[in-house]
């Protein structure tokens, strides 16, 4: 992988689709792009087959804009809605078998480390709540216990949205769904607590109704994963089909859920604070200078 890997073979550029030419000439590769500039550059994400108004798509779009080095990033996903959009992007996507995504990402991270040494290569896992907390639970937790250096992002829509609305481990207690007619009998799994116990260096919850916050969370998680250890982001990305949310009310629902049970939270280990403060210029994480006593 290098900055040139999307460029054309000489002489072929005029036969390429417009979207491809825009990507090469006006894409974010090698530049610093941010959410505030969105709409003025060609994004990594392309057209995709996800439902109209899907909050998961919005989150994936913001995440792709927020990657600190998109040209050095590989995404890993698994079965579920999310991979329909994640795979439609101008950065490499690896499809792990259902539940294997964190195992695949572990191998990929180690391989990239062997091949490229200290040159930063980011691996970002994006999978749904089913792929991560139910079927891929063992692989996810083991990758955290092994301190594998990559970012894990859970796209938590609190349901198996792709297969018709079965309850998942992340569904709330009592929730009635199309394929869970009597309501869920158990509490929502505390993946945040488990991530902290397993030793993740950075754990955050986020809702996509604040694009700049999503950007800052993703940037921090990817940068910490490069240097310190595993990072975990849990994002509420509602399923407007299974939860019957009108598409124009998706952000209203995100706001309600944020106020109800998905408040923004961020946990950083001491090493992660030090890494952000010293290596990447996040001044708020540097130790505060000792206050000199006022002379009396």
């Amino acid at each position: 992988m290098s900055l040139n890997y999307v460029e054309f073979t000489p002489g072929f550029d005029r036969w390429m689709p417009k979207e491809y030419r825009d990507m090469v000439h006006h894409g974010p590769f090698g530049k610093k792009t941010s959410v505030s500039q969105v709409g003025t550059f060609k994004e990594i994400l392309e057209e995709h087959p996800m439902c109209a108004g899907c909050a998961m798509t919005l989150f994936i779009r913001l995440a792709m804009i927020a990657f600190p080095n998109p040209e050095d990033t590989i995404t890993v996903g698994t079965a579920g809605c999310g991979r329909l959009a994640i795979s439609q992007a101008a950065i490499p996507f690896v499809y792990g078998n259902y539940g294997d995504q964190n195992g695949v990402a572990s191998g990929l991270t180690r391989g990239l480390k062997l091949r490229f040494g200290d040159k930063p290569k980011d691996v970002v896992v994006m999978a749904g709540d089913g792929g991560m907390a139910d079927i891929g639970f063992a692989q996810t937790l083991h990758s955290w216990f092994r301190k594998e250096k990559f970012t894990t992002i859970m796209l938590d829509n609190e349901v198996y949205g792709n297969t018709g609305g079965q309850e998942s481990g992340m569904t709330n207690k009592g929730q009635v769904l199309k394929m869970a007619p009597v309501g869920k009998k158990f509490e929502k799994m505390d993946m945040l607590g488990m991530a902290k116990v397993a030793g993740c260096a950075y754990v955050a919850t986020v809702v996509p109704n604040n694009p700049r916050r999503v950007e800052s969370v993703i940037k921090k998680a990817v940068l910490i994963a490069r240097e310190v250890g595993p990072t975990y982001i849990q994002a509420y990305t509602s399923c407007n089909i299974e939860y019957a949310i009108p598409t124009d009310k998706v952000m209203e629902d995100a706001k309600d859920v944020e106020n109800d049970r998905y408040k923004f939270s961020e946990y950083l280990s001491d090493d992660a604070r030090q890494c952000l403060g010293e290596l990447y210029g996040y001044k708020e994480y540097l130790p505060k200078p000792e206050k000199t006593l006022a002379k009396s």
Partner: protein, 107 residues
């Protein structure tokens, strides 16, 4: 026929909050032209919709009405919006895009 988002450039160019560009779930669908309002003597540029990419979810309408409180975006039928931006007519420049407007319904 189906509905797509249509941005009133006069209202948009007076405020230029760019919230709709950040909240659209589709990539490169709501774009921003820094020059759009300046021809008409407005202070800022304006956002516009690439109608061939818009899926008609109306999330931008909610964001414009309730978060920005500008009420600049309406849902309109694709054959009634007049000249609009299509992806093939959009030109990217350094930190800006422009669109040659054309009728979205052909043939």
């Amino acid at each position: 026929m189906y509905l797509i988002a249509y941005i009133d450039q006069e209202i948009c160019a007076a405020t230029s909050c760019k919230l709709c560009t950040q909240f659209c779930p589709e990539a490169n669908t709501i774009l921003y032209n820094t020059e759009a309002g300046k021809d008409k003597g407005m202070k800022y540029g304006s956002a516009y919709v690439a109608v061939d990419r818009c899926k008609g979810c109306a999330q931008c309408v909610w964001v414009c009405d309730n978060m920005a409180k500008h009420n600049a975006i309406k849902m309109e039928m694709i054959d009634q919006v007049g000249d609009s931006a299509l992806t093939e007519n959009i030109t990217y420049a350094e930190k800006n895009t422009t669109a040659k407007l054309a009728n979205p319904v052909r043939g």
